[in-house]
């Protein structure tokens, strides 16, 4: 519950940075903060009380019968949100790198990083 509220507050802070800043690189930093907040929310939804990491080692295996698997199921965390967040973090890096290279190209062609100087690109 605590991490869920922390993630939501990070998303709101990131959207605020994206809406009120003038420097292009500040806007991209806000985007990266939104990404981190979203991943925090997804991982917090898969947590189970008093459970440990989902790696079935010899430590967990000796406490239960591995073919009914009944006692394992209350002692490990859900593995599916971990797998989804793994993908999401790498894609966040790729999109951030692409946005930054767009910003570098805009600076080299027009000479300014302030978003008010690009008024003629608005419709």
């Amino acid at each position: 519950m605590l991490i869920l509220i922390g993630g939501i507050l990070l998303i709101i802070a990131g959207i605020w940075a994206m809406l009120t800043k003038k420097n292009l690189i500040r806007i991209i930093i806000g985007f990266s903060i939104v990404d981190t907040g979203t991943n925090l929310i997804i991982v917090s939804l898969g947590y189970i009380k008093n459970a440990t990491a989902p790696i079935i080692d010899t430590a967990i295996k000796t406490q239960t019968d591995p073919h009914t698997g009944l006692k394992i199921l209350t002692k490990i965390v859900d593995p599916i949100p971990s797998a989804l967040v793994l993908t999401a973090i790498v894609i966040g890096l790729a999109v951030t790198a692409l946005m930054l290279s767009y910003a570098i190209r805009l600076y080299k062609v027009h000479g300014s990083l302030n978003i008010d100087d690009y008024e003629e690109f608005k419709w």
């Binding site: 922390g6 903060i33 917090s44 930054l100 910003a103």
Partner: protein, 82 residues
């Protein structure tokens, strides 16, 4: 039982770093603050029982993303103040 004090401290640290990244004058400080947010998120992932995600977030978020931002700042002549 995850340590409640450690979780409260980490969430407070990340929120203070997010506010600092919005209100500071120099862009370089904002980039370092975004690295601190990724680092505290990685420790939160570890306490919540997801070590693969913690490893990935630590290398990508606090490592490569900060480096890519610093390269972009160098190529645009160190972005002006806001």
């Amino acid at each position: 039982m995850p340590d409640l004090m450690a979780l409260i401290l980490l969430v407070l640290l990340s929120l203070i770093a997010a506010l600092y990244a919005i209100f500071t004058k120099k862009t370089l400080n904002a980039v370092i603050a975004s690295g601190i947010i990724s680092l505290s998120a990685s420790i939160i992932f570890l306490i919540y029982g997801a070590p693969d995600v913690a490893m990935t977030e630590a290398t990508i978020g606090a490592g490569l993303t900060t480096v890519v931002f610093l390269y972009a700042l160098k190529q645009t002549k160190g972005g002006e103040d806001d």
